[in-house]
């Protein structure tokens, strides 16, 4: 039995099809990252898994419990870390955790013990009596995560938990995720930061426009682009003539221009780069900056969609 099983999941809002037939299977103890740009359908997919939205079609289950037919059982196995801070600012960190713990059915000594443990995990034991409204963004994020861990769920869904926080808090959260996974928790992690997906995940599902367009391990996905190198170039002026010239250079597989930056996928940057400079000179265009990136998930996304992940 998979910890998370999603089959042909669909969600429409009127004429807008947000999720169109997603299939995902996450094994117990695994971290799966859903990677994709904003609007790709990641949040809608996990909202259906969390019981916030009803699927228009398809099936989804958590630990074998259908999210539509046995929502209470599915939710009892699940901890959800929402993308935005969802805490009571006028309650202390401890009061927040106690309340959320009660909502998961914890009571008495078990609740107290678990709240103490979670405060320790998120590193806020010293600040437990302070009101959450006074916390920094990073500290709020940590409490936000802690609230989903109180009942020691089999599965945790984290919706972009590191958005807008400082590097130190981000590091703390990523380490927490790895530690939770080491303890046996299954994690479904959505992000649009490819570095996070690469660091954390056993498997990665890349989503775009409501579909999973690629699935595999990090290495498997990189192989999709055939070890291609990405070169980002900034020019003093754009011209159609230079793009035509670069397309004819041997070893260039793709050229995209966005916001003054031209991205070129090449087989071997050492061989291709001199030819690109030469063609630019002949077209009287000056290259003002060059950034060479070895194949990564960004390259994969670009290769698959023709757009950058950050777009």
């Amino acid at each position: 039995m998979n910890a998370i099983e999603v089959k042909n999941l669909k969600k429409s809002f009127g004429d807008l099809v947000a999720v169109q037939g997603v299939d995902i299977a996450v094994q117990k103890g695994e971290i799966l990252s859903l990677l994709g740009p904003n609007g790709a359908g990641k949040s809608t997919t996990i909202s259906m898994l969390a019981g916030l939205l009803s699927p228009s079609d398809g099936e989804a289950s958590i630990m074998g419990h259908s999210v539509t037919k046995e929502p209470e059982a599915a939710k009892a196995s699940l901890g959800v870390v929402p993308q935005d801070i969802a805490l009571y600012p006028d309650l202390s960190a401890r009061e927040n955790l106690v309340f959320w713990g009660k909502m998961y059915g914890l009571r008495g000594a078990a609740l107290k013990t678990r709240v103490d443990q979670v405060l320790d995990i998120i590193g806020l034991t010293e600040r437990q009596k302070d009101r959450v409204g006074k916390f920094s963004g990073g500290m709020k994020r940590r409490v936000n995560i802690g609230a989903a861990l109180l009942h020691e769920p089999d599965v945790v869904i984290m919706d972009e938990p590191t958005v807008g926080i400082d590097p130190q808090s981000r590091r703390h959260i990523l380490d927490n995720v790895k530690e939770l996974n080491r303890q046996g928790m299954t994690v479904l992690y959505t992000t649009h930061y490819m570095e996070e997906a690469a660091e954390l995940s056993d498997h990665i599902a890349i989503m775009d426009q409501g579909k999973v367009i690629a699935y595999g391990t990090h290495d498997e996905l990189i192989k999709l682009v055939g070890e291609q190198t990405r070169i980002d170039l900034t020019l003093n002026a754009e011209s159609a003539m230079i793009f035509d010239a670069w397309h004819s250079v041997a070893g260039v597989s793709r050229i995209d221009a966005t916001d003054g930056t031209v991205t070129v996928l090449v087989d071997d940057s050492n061989q291709v780069l001199p030819a690109l400079f030469e063609a630019a000179a002949q077209a009287n265009v000056r290259i003002t900056s060059v950034d060479i990136q070895e194949p990564n998930l960004e390259t994969v996304f670009l290769h698959l969609t023709g757009r950058a992940l950050r777009d």
């Binding site: 209470e72 059982a73 939710k75 801070i85 009571y88 309650l91 909502m103 998961y104």
Partner: protein
């Protein structure tokens, strides 16, 4: 159990909000407190007036052969110098009208009483060309009125005595009896002394006054009319703010929606009906707590006698049900908490005015009074009127039934709309 947890959490949040506590408890008590102090701290019904400075010019002389021991001017003067009015009238003598007028102009005194020479002679002769002149500071309103009333009352009394004695003499003569001329001054003097004492006693020692006014007061109610008025005002404020509390507390569901905590609750193994029930319970308890605190505080702070405990309990329960119901219904129309302020402020104030919360002490046109029957506030204030009026508990049954029915209907409608919204 989770319903209680949600309600308890909402109550904690409400009572930690300075705004909520201000609107629930402090504002209604503060408003009544202002009125209370405006009436001079009405717990004893003794509203203090500012001291009145009165100057008296008494030029009156007793005419020869007058049937009185002393001139009427002396009686008028002595009223203002009497010990019984010393706490609120400071009187002083002036030699003539000019000096008294100067004192008024300089605002050394507020009122000058000018009693002309031969006033007694003219008065006894029934002539009207001699009058007591009252000069007053034009910036004052109460002091001149008080002085004028005192002089008028005294002269009316003396005139009444004169007419009475004249009538007695005429009746005796009509019956062939000849009155003894020596007895007439005695009678007049006796009457004048009696009247002066009567006036003094009526205002300062009512238990000794020959004439007393008895007012029927219902059993169990405050005997002090100012306290009774404060009681109605306090009830009006309590009703207005309890409806506000009902709606404001219910607005927590909108705030939770905006804070993301409602969505988080939906991801947990808690039924949506339980979440809504917890929220409703918090609203109900908030209004109950507010009502109890205000009733107790008003009793001890303003000495308001709320009346029969059972009647108070019935009125309070009806109020809580109506306020909770209206709160749930009103907020079910509001999409976001930012809309809440205008909707609650405008809607509840309008309904409160129609319900007669601000006109409980005033006789209003019949049509306006009829309108109050279509608002929950109208029935709630009506029930408090019954409680404060000391009427029997049975009189409360109809208002209680209407309040409860209105509250339940509004609650159900609101709950249906919320369930649809968060389905």
């Amino acid at each position: 159990m989770k319903i209680l947890d949600i309600a308890f959490k909402d109550l904690i949040r409400s009572f930690r909000s300075a705004f909520a506590v201000g609107m629930m408890i402090i504002a209604p008590l503060g408003l009544i407190g202002l009125i209370y102090f405006a009436f001079g701290g009405a717990s004893g019904g003794t509203a203090d007036l500012p001291a009145v400075n009165v100057g008296v010019v008494n030029a009156d002389r007793l005419p020869a052969e007058a049937p009185l021991d002393k001139p009427l001017g002396d009686e008028i003067r002595s009223m203002f110098f009497d010990e019984s009015v010393a706490s609120w009238i400071t009187a002083s003598d002036y030699a003539d009208e000019a000096s008294a007028r100067t004192a008024v102009d300089k605002q050394e005194i507020g009122v000058a009483i000018i009693i002309p020479q031969d006033f007694t002679g003219h008065f006894l002769a029934g002539e009207t060309d001699s009058q007591v002149l009252i000069l007053s500071d034009p910036t004052l309103t109460i002091a001149p009125q008080v002085a004028e009333n005192m002089v008028t009352a005294m002269l009316d009394g003396v005139s009444g005595g004169r007419i009475a004695i004249q009538t007695v003499i005429e009746r005796q003569q009509a019956n062939g009896l000849q009155p003894d001329p020596a007895q007439i001054p005695v009678l007049i003097n006796r009457y004048t002394t009696w009247y002066a004492n009567f006036q003094r006693d009526m205002f300062h020692n009512p238990d000794r006054a020959a004439l007393t006014l008895a007012t029927a007061v219902a059993e169990g109610t405050s005997e002090n009319p100012i306290q009774k008025m404060l009681g109605i005002m306090m009830a009006g404020q309590m009703v207005f703010f309890s409806f506000f509390t009902g709606a404001f507390s219910m607005m927590s569901i909108l705030r939770e929606d905006e804070e993301g905590t409602l969505a988080r609750l939906f991801t947990m193994p808690v039924r949506r009906a339980s979440i809504l029930a917890g929220k409703f319970l918090a609203v109900f308890l908030s209004v109950v707590v507010q009502g109890i605190v205000l009733i107790i505080a008003a009793h001890y702070a303003f000495n308001i006698n709320w009346g029969e405990p059972l009647a108070v309990a019935l009125a309070l329960i009806g109020q809580v049900i109506a306020a909770t119901g209206l709160g749930v219904l009103l907020i079910s129309f509001v999409k976001e908490s930012k809309q809440g302020g205008p909707v609650l402020g405008g809607g509840l104030t309008a309904l409160g005015m129609l319900g007669g919360l601000f006109t409980a002490n005033i006789s209003m046109p019949k049509a306006f009074t009829m309108l109050a029957n279509f608002t929950p506030q109208g029935w709630v204030i009506k029930s408090w009127g019954i409680v404060l009026g000391g009427q029997p508990v049975s009189d409360l049954l109809l208002p209680f039934a209407v309040m409860t029915a209105m509250g339940i209907v509004m609650f159900v409608l609101g709950a249906i709309m919320f369930r649809k919204r968060y389905a």
